[in-house]
Amino acid sequence: DTAVSQTPKYLVTQMGNDKSIKCEQNLGHDTMYWYKQDSKKFLKIMFSYNNKELIINETVPNRFSPKSPDKAHLNLHINSLELGDSAVYFCASAGSDNSPLHFGNGTRLTVT
């Protein structure tokens, strides 16, 4: 069983469109994250979310919004997609304190 699964694996879309990426974890973790990895492999945290608090990286445009229907899911909605949004987006989850992050296998988003 996949611990952190995200769909779709690939997403190709045009500028200006709105898209969503789904993430589910079956580890019972309290906190979930969205990361963006650019072509140089740099990992940038976008959001962290638990059932109490949403923490937003202030550099993330408000076109990006996380939506959590329940503790096991954290979806990412992106409005008005831009060319610069092309990247691999990773969902991750973690338990308490310094427990390791468990990542999904990523969604490669290409905006044309």
Partner: protein, 114 residues
């Protein structure tokens, strides 16, 4: 401002060699230092981690050396194998209110030639 500086950006070694990846930090509030390994098409996965009260930690062929006074830590891979070819990230974690904040290095792309 990069709070965790990682070097080199890329590294090529022969099978059996000992690649070393170095990281440095400034903030003494960091209290946990994990290394993540990422294979192409996969998400990063925790490889090994250390706390600053320990100077060295070994897990199999992977060793972290930690120098608290210099605020540096490094990953050594003994008897490296082609299957170790991946991107390696160091990170540093600290408390941030009720949460923890994880700061990532920029990554090192390692290629181990057969």
């Amino acid at each position: 401002q990069q709070q965790v500086k990682q070097s080199p950006q890329s590294l090529i070694v022969q099978k059996g060699g000992i690649p070393i990846i170095n990281c440095a930090y400034e903030n003494t509030a960091f209290d946990y230092f994990p290394w993540y390994q990422q294979f192409p098409g996969k998400g990063p996965a925790l490889l090994i981690a250390i706390r600053p009260d320990v100077s060295e930690k070994k897990e199999g062929r992977f060793t972290i050396s930690f120098n608290k006074s210099a605020k540096q830590f490094s990953l050594h891979i003994m008897d490296s194998q082609p299957g170790d070819s991946a991107t390696y990230f160091c990170a540093a974690s600290r408390r941030d209110g009720n949460n923890r904040k994880l700061i990532w290095g920029l990554g090192t792309s390692l290629a181990v030639n057969p």
